[in-house]
């Protein structure tokens, strides 16, 4: 049996992702906003939740702190999937950070949700994480 699937997330000062993770009730570590703060250690397989901050052309979609976190190959190796968040009002760049990270890190894009998520998002992500955790456990042994 492996450890439970871990969750890592980024949330800026506006706090949407933070509020989502609190309601989700899944143990999670936050990538700090402060560029000088230590990044969370990650020994177990984890899912990343990342908001999108893209301009109209898609630039700057992934927060610099998340890039800094993923630049470490040891952490990247433990990344099993990504959830992108955003606001559909940003059109084609909606939740784009999830697609970019999936592409860069060669992991599946698990799903996306808007702002702080809805009750439906909470339910489907809790269920999805549980299932994915079990799948990884059975393939690991």
């Amino acid at each position: 049996m492996g450890a439970e699937l871990a969750l890592i997330y980024y949330s800026s000062k506006s706090g949407n992702t933070e509020r989502f993770v609190t309601r989700l009730g899944w143990p999670a570590a936050r990538i700090p906003i402060d560029a000088d703060a230590p990044l969370p250690d990650q020994g177990d397989p984890f899912v990343l939740i990342c908001p999108t901050y893209a301009d109209g052309e898609g630039r700057g979609a992934v927060p610099k702190q998340v890039i800094r976190f993923l630049n470490d190959p040891a952490r990247r190796e433990k990344l099993v999937g990504v959830i992108g968040t955003g606001n559909r009002n940003f059109g084609a760049t909606y939740a784009m950070s999830g697609r970019i990270i999936a592409d860069k890190c060669k992991v599946p894009l698990l799903c996306s949700f808007e702002l702080a998520g809805t009750d439906t998002d909470i339910a489907r992500i809790r269920e999805g994480l549980t299932k994915l955790g079990k799948t990884l456990c059975s393939t690991a042994t």
Binding site: D55, G91, A92, G98, I100, D103, K104, P108, D119, T120
Partner: protein
């Protein structure tokens, strides 16, 4: 001379010393996203406009004059009313950008009109907007909150509701036309407006949260009650406005779901929880696709996409990636 009021000279703004880096982040986002209606080839919609019935044309023009009124309010009263409450000089600068873009939005509707409509149709629609009781009621509810001397945080609540909720009974229609491959250039322009309003609602909501966090519990509760009461009041007006506009075309129920969805998002911008439950807030997928075309994600969790499909996003140039 001693009693003469002192002229307050602002300090020169230094963008290299930030009290709140969100100000610079949002300033950059807004300035990079700057656009003008001339950028959009609206005249390509002339053949499509000709396929609409007289009633559909009238509805579309009326919806756009309603949106013009909200943009006018936000340009001349809303965003300027937030400036004296700014806690950083950079916030004030961001608000000047927001105010100006609202003027660009208001101006854009007139570009649509001059491209597609006759002077008579345009004048009739503006007369309609001057007299429509529901439109006037929502304008009044917001303007009362913007009045000088009112609570700065209540002003932000009203501003977020205008930016993130009140526009959407109107935005629905161009998204609906776009989903049926009509007025697609107009829809492109509206999407630029929607993108701007999303940043505005986000930023003003964020500034609200900063002020709210510093209050004691009793004051927080008072403001939260105020926010939900104002939302109920505006929602009531929006329901009537929606029925008057959309009953004849049979879209009222679809628009109301869109209102619920956007009301929830407006409350989230303020840091509050959703008001309407998921079962009445699940927007027609065609409208969602019109809002964010080309952003569809393969959803691994729901199994709606192929397993382990890697994102196809164009990798954005960013020197920060090491791999």
């Amino acid at each position: 001379m001693k009693d003469m009021p002192q002229t307050k000279i602002p300090r020169a703004i230094n963008w290299n010393r930030l009290d709140d880096d969100k100000d610079l982040e949002v300033w950059n986002r807004l300035t990079v996203n700057f656009w003008l209606p001339e950028k959009v080839p609206l005249s390509n919609d002339i053949p499509s406009w000709a396929t609409l019935t007289d009633h559909e044309k009238e509805l579309t023009i009326r919806v756009f004059t309603g949106l013009t009124l909200l943009d006018t309010i936000q340009n001349t009263v809303g965003a300027p009313s937030l400036m004296p409450d700014a806690v950083t000089p950079h916030e004030e600068a961001v608000l000047t950008n927001i105010a100006f873009m609202e003027a660009v939005h208001a101006r854009s509707y007139s570009s649509i009109f001059s491209t597609l409509c006759s002077t008579k149709e345009i004048d009739e629609a503006f007369r309609w907007s001057d007299e429509n009781p529901h439109l006037q009621a929502k304008a009044k509810a917001i303007l009362d909150t913007y009045a000088p001397g009112n609570d700065p945080l209540k002003r932000k609540i009203a501003s977020v509701f205008l930016e993130s909720f009140l526009f959407y009974s109107g935005f629905y229609l161009p998204m609906y036309w776009s989903s049926r491959a009509k007025l697609t250039n107009t829809a492109d322009l509206i999407r630029l407006i929607i993108r701007d309003e999303a940043v505005h609602g986000y930023y003003i909501g964020y500034k609200f949260q900063l002020g709210y966090e510093q209050l004691d519990e009793a004051r927080q509760q008072e403001l939260k009650d105020y926010a939900f009461n104002l939302m109920f009041e505006l929602y009531g007006i929006e329901n009537q406005y929606t029925e008057e506009l959309y009953d004849q075309i049979g879209l009222t129920e679809d628009v109301k779901v869109f209102l619920h969805y956007n009301a929830n998002k407006a409350l989230q911008n303020l840091g509050f929880e959703a008001l309407f439950p998921p079962e009445v807030s699940e927007v027609n997928p065609a409208i969602l696709a019109a809002l964010s075309p080309d952003s569809e994600n393969h959803d691994f969790f729901s199994g709606s996409g192929s397993s382990y499909v890697i994102g196809k996003a164009v990798a954005t140039e960013d020197e920060d990636w090491d791999f």
